[in-house]
């Protein structure tokens, strides 16, 4: 868990540096080595690590537009993921998806740039597991800003009525871009949404990886034992802007300071020290994680950009005609031809 978290933190900090290259002093979204928008998850690490610790490769995960910490914790190929973020040919999606649309079928990870819309496919993956009578589960991650979306609420009901082995994880970082939670919903505790669907709802109040790990273990165990879905909300914090380049002028300074002070990685490190792990060991784990990140970034930057002609490929996996390109001949009685 600690390794996943320090990997994810260093990953986001390094991507921030790479992303801003060429974009300063005047921010130009079209400049620099990383194309497009970039939504970094520094401050969310405890959620991805605490939840995914309980998952196997055959369990499906859908993540939202802020997906890197979840992808890392789910075991997505870090080099190919990084190459995708840099828009390179050897990326997970050959440079066609980008950082909000990472797909790694080897570990059943997917993400979507549309708020709450990962929930229905996660329910569908859970439906597939149930139909196939396996003990696989599915987890949908979403932000607290997504809890008023129809796709989320419909999925809760669909999962509840079908007893699907799925866990919905709300990552509450207090902010939906510029909108604080209390201005858009009267429900302070998003997990209470579960009550309307007769589903267990659990909230973990602090950025505490161990508490998230324990709550997620219970929810995922429940799903794996075929006892139905759970809604889990975990408090995280947003250490950076909504997207890189976000001036955050809407955000009080004290809120940013408070977010920086609530460091779940430091909290977990303190827990580990209290359990007898010494600083040298923690340093070593962190250095190994940093090394892995540096290798992935170096590898990705070394990869070729896609050939322009590749833009025309991969709309379909089968030929346009489907599974056949010829029609059998029948003599239809009474036909004109």
């Amino acid at each position: 868990m600690y390794v996943d978290m320090v990997t994810a933190r260093h990953y986001e900090e390094r991507l921030q540096e790479e992303y801003l290259e060429g974009k300063q002093p005047a921010f130009d979204i079209s400049a620099g080595p990383i194309p497009g928008e970039l939504h970094l998850a520094a401050g969310h690490e405890a959620s991805g690590a605490g939840v995914c610790q309980h998952l196997r490769d055959d369990d499906a995960v859908t993540a939202p537009h802020r997906p890197h910490h979840v992808a890392i914790a789910k075991g997505v190929d870090l080099k190919r993921m990084t190459a995708e973020i840099f828009g390179r040919e050897t990326g997970l999606g050959k440079g066609k998806g980008g950082h909000m649309h990472l797909f790694d079928p080897d570990v059943n990870f997917a993400c979507s740039g549309i708020i709450a819309q990962g929930c229905p496919p996660a329910a569908g993956a859970a439906l597939a597991a149930k139909k196939r009578n396996t003990d696989s589960v599915a987890v949908a991650f979403l932000g607290e800003g997504a809890i008023d979306q129809g796709g989320f609420l419909e999925s809760l009901n669909f999962a509840a009525v079908r007893d699907l082995p799925v866990v919905f994880v709300i990552e509450d970082n207090d902010w939906a871009i510029s909108m604080p939670k209390d201005r858009v919903t009267d429900v302070e505790n998003g997990s209470r949404r579960a009550g309307g669907f007769d589903m267990p709802g659990v909230r973990v109040d602090h950025d505490d990886a161990v508490a998230i790990y324990e709550a997620a273990g219970e929810a995922i165990g429940r799903a794996r034992d075929r006892n139905g879905p759970t809604l889990l909300e975990v408090q995280v914090h947003r250490r950076m802007g909504h997207f890189m380049g976000d001036p955050q002028s809407y955000r009080p300074e004290r809120d940013q300071d408070a977010a920086l002070a609530r460091d779940s990685i430091e909290r977990l490190a303190a827990d580990l020290r209290a359990h007898g792990v010494d600083d040298d060991e923690l340093d070593e784990l962190r250095e190994d994680a940093h090394k892995r990140v540096e290798e992935a970034i170096a590898w990705a930057k070394d990869q070729p950009e896609p050939e322009p002609g590749a833009a025309h490929e991969d709309v379909f996996v089968n030929p346009g005609s489907g599974v056949t390109d010829s029609e059998p001949e029948f003599e239809l009685a009474g036909g004109d031809d």
Binding site: A125, A128, K131, D336
Partner: protein, 339 residues
Amino acid sequence: MSQQTQRVERELTMSRAMVEAIATEMRDDDEVFYMGEDVADYGGIFDSTEGLREEFGYDRVMDVPISETAYIGAAVGAAQMGMRPIAELMFVDFFGVAMDQIYNQLAKNTYMSGGNVSVPMVLTTAVGGTYNDAAQHSQTLYGTFAHVPGMKVVVPSTAYEAKGLMHNAIRDDDPVVYMFHKRLMGIGWMPAPDGPKTPVPETDYTIPFGSADVKREGDDVTVVTLGLHVHRALEAAENLADDGTSVEVLDLRSLVPLDTDTIVESVEKTGNLVVVDEDYRSFGVTGEIVASVADEALGALDAVERVAVPDVPIPYSRPLENEVVPNVGDIEAAVERIQ
């Protein structure tokens, strides 16, 4: 016809042919299942699943909450895990509540994954008017679905097509939108015109997408159309033949992919093109067909006519709906204008 060609006598309605294909695929593959509103006990409001629940039970013929985003999205998720779901959108007009799952997930996940993820599902949906159901229950929206890349879009016009296209749709590893016209299904309370009830082989067979069918050969004018209007065009062609005009009628059968070759071949013969569509005129099927022919064979085009719904919502009252949905007379008039 060669000696091996099988002669087929047995006639089915379009709905029976569609269901026969689905049932056969469900028998052959446990991973095929059907989700939709009123598809189990009711058998589909338009008979699209009649009898399936009795054979396959509620686990494989699933009635779902009125939550199109959830269950169409769940079909996407199950398909990405390798199953072969069929999800039914009761009326195509209801697409709006689930358009993100259709436009942004179903259609794009294959491409965004660089082809590493496939979405082998079928989205069935009822289309069309002619029974005074007004603006929110009468559209075809062919152009809306054919517009976004990543979905194959098929439109059967007869029972024979309904079965062969459905077999191909379920077996295809890509998402296929299967748009069936209510008026063609052969439902007791919505009588079909002559034509969609055809002989249907008992064996399973696949009709390739992107293969338009010449439903009637002719020399003077090419009429390109799909769905219900195949039958209206055939009737118009029959009437015009009495006046000495020879009309060729092409049934597109699929919009994605579009069989431009067959259209161009016909236009090169006739020089005259009439496109007939039950969808809106602007930014839709008629304009696309004309543009495609112009791209490929501008020189072969002597004259062009478009027959489509003028750009108004489908009205309720009978005389109003009849005014805007192209009828046989409208097609004949277009052919005559072009001559």
